[in-house]
């Protein structure tokens, strides 16, 4: 096609780590008595061990940051040699309180009186996870097809424009109005993503650059629409904010009005299933993966790489758009402004990487990061620790996960596929022999 083919951009292969222990598998068949130790090795040496190790490392680094910037710790450090115990207890309470608040805000509020109140943080976490699931899935589809769609912000904004405009301007009965808003939002988001796909297919422009530029363009477009009376701006207001959504377009709460969790979460779960089916069982998904693995081979096999690129972006954009739609119609239905994307487009990158571009993995990663967000907010309110600590921990997790050898070296985990220590050296050679 052009220059872009020679450029890398294909992150698909790297999060998926190394070929999972083929050597070990062969050994299991040979030596059944070693089954338990092999199983243990597969767990700690495979990708799960690395994931857990990465999360631990990142949380450790986060604790260091919290402790180092804590005022009590710094005060106690001044007389460390006189009374070292003070500093140690200050360190303990700084980190301990922070993570206790994180837990209290994200999973279970142990200070609450009833089960209904105690479980509320978990619902908040799932609510935060909802847009991350959609946008993470969108990114994951792109990764599998070798496209790095950083345009989540722009696609969410366009989805919000489409869904929001339908949501507050039309008069329709409930399910119809909501469904129409969802569909229109997903279409506008998908079309915005398609711009980058078409540019890549036709001119070879790198999608990392074009999607980032489209993010900024979408932002100013929304800004313009919000600042101009008669477009998206709420009538009779000078604020850059839309009017609230009609009640007929709002997604209902799943567990009643006491909890924030809304229908968008169910839609996100459906999207997980749909994406799994698309990527693993459908012909379109097969062409996506073929192009992602090797565009040249795909072309030789008769796949139209350019057209596939456009479709990948459309699917990816539609999934990301789902996140924008749920934000507008479910989470904050009182109208939105230019910060409607709330940084989800970039968080989605880390979600997709942590989830290893696998729909179920994305679901887990999104819930984890949703919990971080919910807990981070509590941590900020209760302990005065800026919520950006969550961003730091998230990016560190992804960074560590992307480099399995580093994590293995730190935790002294065995390599995947390495046999228990025996006299014979290289298991790969044995297998080959």
């Amino acid at each position: 096609m052009s220059a872009s083919d020679d450029r890398p951009a294909v992150p698909a292969e790297s999060p998926s780590v190394d070929p999972p222990g083929q050597g070990a598998a062969t050994h299991t068949t040979k030596e059944p008595e070693n089954r338990w130790s092999t199983a243990f090795r597969e767990i700690v040496g495979g990708s799960w061990g690395v994931s857990v190790g990465a999360v631990l490392l990142a949380i450790l680094a986060g604790s260091i940051l919290i402790v180092a910037t804590d005022e009590n710790v710094r005060a106690a450090a001044a007389y460390f040699f006189a009374r070292p115990g003070d500093m140690l207890s200050a360190i303990g309470s700084a980190a301990g309180d922070a993570y206790a608040a994180l837990f209290r805000g994200s999973v279970w509020n142990y200070r609450a009186d009833s089960f209904a109140d105690g479980i509320r943080p978990l619902m908040v976490s799932l609510n935060y996870a909802t847009p991350l699931i959609g946008s993470g899935l969108g990114l994951a589809v792109g990764f599998r097809a070798g496209l790095f769609n950083i345009g989540g912000q722009g696609q969410m904004i366009l989805a919000a424009i489409g869904a929001g405009w339908i949501g507050f301007s039309l008069q329709l009965p409930w399910p119809l109005h909501m469904l129409l808003a969802i569909v229109v939002g997903m279409i506008t988001g998908a079309l915005w993503a398609a711009i980058a796909g078409v540019l890549k297919a036709v001119t070879g422009a790198h999608e990392v650059i074009t999607t980032i530029m489209l993010n900024h363009i979408a932002f100013y477009l929304l800004f313009f629409l919000l600042a101009t009376p008669g477009l998206l701006q709420a009538p009779g207001s000078a604020n850059p904010k839309t009017p609230p959504m009609q009640s007929s377009a709002v997604m209902p709460k799943i567990f009643g009005s006491g909890y924030h969790l809304h229908l968008g979460f169910v839609l996100a779960l459906l999207a997980v299933a749909a994406t799994w089916w698309l990527m693993e069982r459908s012909k379109l998904g097969f062409t996506f993966r073929a192009v992602g693995e090797n565009p040249r081979a795909a072309r030789v096999a008769g796949i139209d790489v350019g057209r596939t690129t456009v479709w990948v972006m459309v699917v990816s954009g539609a999934l990301v758009a789902l996140a924008g739609v749920t934000q507008v119609l479910g989470t904050s239905t009182t109208g939105f402004s230019t910060d409607v994307d709330a940084g989800m487009g970039f968080d989605a990158i880390t979600v997709a990487l942590l989830g290893r571009s696998n729909p179920v993995g994305v679901l887990g990663a999104a819930i984890l990061f949703g919990a971080f967000r919910a807990g981070g907010a509590t941590m900020q309110a209760a302990e005065g620790i800026p919520i950006e600590i969550v961003t730091v921990i998230q990016s560190l997790i992804v960074l560590f996960i992307a480099a399995p050898p580093l994590v293995r070296a730190i935790f002294r985990l065995p390599k995947p596929g390495s046999a228990p220590r025996r006299k014979a050296g290289d298991p790969a050679k044995e297998v080959a022999a």
Binding site: S2, A3, D6, R7, P8, A9, V10, P11, E13, S14, P15, L65, T69, F148, I150, L199, T203, G204, A205, H206, V208, I209, T210, I212, M213, L214, H216, I217, Y220, L221, F223, F224, A227, T228, F346, I349, T350, L353, I385, P386, E388, I389, V390, T391, V392, Q394, S395, L396, V398, L399, A402, A403, P405, L406
Partner: protein, 432 residues
């Protein structure tokens, strides 16, 4: 390809036609046509009255050029006529299978600009500040330009640096802190270079040693630096602003003689030291890349690491050095934010300049001089918004703010053509 290739019956015409392989591209004529139509539509749909006054003098000029007032619409129509002629010329060249020369493109750009500015400033009470437009173009381009230089070096060595944004932000932060503690901008600058190199070192460790996908590491590093600087800013800098976030800025230096040249003198030669370093950096990087042994090895490693390894070049070491040098160069750009532009760090103050720098690298075809030109173009596109708001332009400010990104999009997608990245850019080298 296939075994059943048609037998060539008459050999001479075939070889005759093969001797002249003409490469033509519709891009120039297409873009010219598009832009001409845009300006034409603007002028037809929203004609304006009055005159446009262009002010060429700075306040403290040795001798001041008087402001020029031009009748707006006639100026715009003349420019449109020039645009039409150039567009037709470009199509004629295309039909004759000849390339449109770059000079024609520059001429087209100038005519478009003159027409657009004339239309935009029509009937305004204030003068259109030409000097300010030039000087703020250069100033807005500073971080982008340093970022683009660093990016070009990295990619030439085979390491895609998406983390330019993170390097800019990180070095801006460190420059603010060190500059505030020492009350010495030079110490801040030095620290900024180290900070840029430190982010580059992390990039290097993960991409060169651990061979993680370079785009992923770059993107994640950006997020990491953004989170880290914002966390430390809120937690540490905000409570101690006077000690930790109050730098002494580099003063503006007037270059004798040069600063008295009309228009460009006040715009280009009454700047701070970092801007002058930028003027020097472009030719220096060019020289280092194309005329030194270091540059030759660096480019070899970026194009064909296996071949470079075969002749005894240590691929990983060359890449590490290149990435570290590039990081330090980006650090100059970061220092600009907190030691020249303003005297305080603020959260996410780079606001995507690193990504524009990345686009400038591609637009400049991985060449430091062209990348610098691209950076200046983006700086100009950003500066236009400020200048247009002075004369109260009828274009909504959001669209003017959007302009640099639209220009980038067009540049990357449209005008770059079949640009080719360094062959091994983005590929980790595995020694066999």
């Amino acid at each position: 390809m296939s075994a059943t290739a048609p037998v060539v019956r008459d050999e001479s015409p075939v070889s005759e036609s093969l001797r002249h392989v003409t490469v033509t591209s519709k891009k120039f004529p297409t873009v010219f046509t598009f832009m001409t139509v845009v300006l034409g539509l603007i002028m037809l749909l929203a004609p304006r009255e009055g005159e446009t006054k262009f002010r060429f003098a700075a306040d403290t000029d040795f001798f001041a050029i008087p402001s020029v007032a031009v009748p707006a619409m006639p100026l715009a129509w003349v420019c449109l006529a020039i645009l039409v002629v150039l567009t037709v010329l470009s199509w004629v060249l295309f039909l004759q299978e000849r390339r449109t020369p770059w000079a024609l493109g520059v001429l087209f750009g100038l005519a478009f600009l003159a027409g657009f500015l004339g239309w935009g400033g029509a009937g305004s009470v204030s003068d259109f500040p030409v000097v300010r437009l030039v000087s703020s173009s250069v100033l807005l381009a500073v971080p982008i330009l340093f970022g683009a230089l660093g990016g070009a070096i990295g990619e030439r060595a085979g390491v895609i640096n998406i983390a330019i944004e993170g390097q800019l932000l990180g070095s801006a932060f460190v420059a603010a802190v060190v500059g505030s503690i020492t009350k010495n901008p030079w110490a801040g600058l030095l620290a900024a270079l180290l900070a840029g190199a430190l982010v580059a070192l992390v990039l290097g460790i993960f991409t060169i040693t651990y061979r993680v996908n370079q785009v992923i590491v770059g993107v994640v590093l950006n997020v990491l630096v953004l989170g880290l600087t914002t966390f430390l800013f809120t937690q540490v800098l905000v409570p101690n602003t006077s000690q930790l976030n109050q730098t002494v800025r580099f003063p503006a230096i007037r270059i004798p003689v040069l600063s008295e040249i009309p228009i460009i003198g006040p715009a280009l030669f009454r700047q701070s030291i970092i801007v002058y370093l930028m003027y020097l950096a472009v030719p220096l990087v060019w020289f280092a890349l194309y005329r030194t042994r270091w540059g030759l090895r660096l480019r070899a490693v970026g194009e064909h690491p296996l071949a470079a390894d075969t002749v005894g070049i240590k691929v990983e070491r060359v890449r590490y050095r290149a990435v570290l040098v590039a990081g330090a160069i980006v650090g100059f750009g970061g220092a600009y934010y907190t030691l020249v532009a303003v005297s305080q760090f603020n959260r996410n103050m780079t606001a995507g300049a690193g990504f524009i720098a990345l686009a400038a690298v591609i637009f400049g075809k991985w060449d430091p001089v062209r990348a610098a030109m691209a950076a200046l173009l983006f700086g100009f596109a950003s500066a236009l918004e400020g200048a247009m708001s002075v004369v109260g332009s009828p274009v909504p400010s959001q669209f003017m703010l959007m302009l640099p990104y639209v220009v980038t999009l067009f540049a990357v997608a449209g005008l770059v053509g079949r640009s080719r990245a360094p062959a091994a850019s983005g590929v980790a080298y595995v020694k066999e």
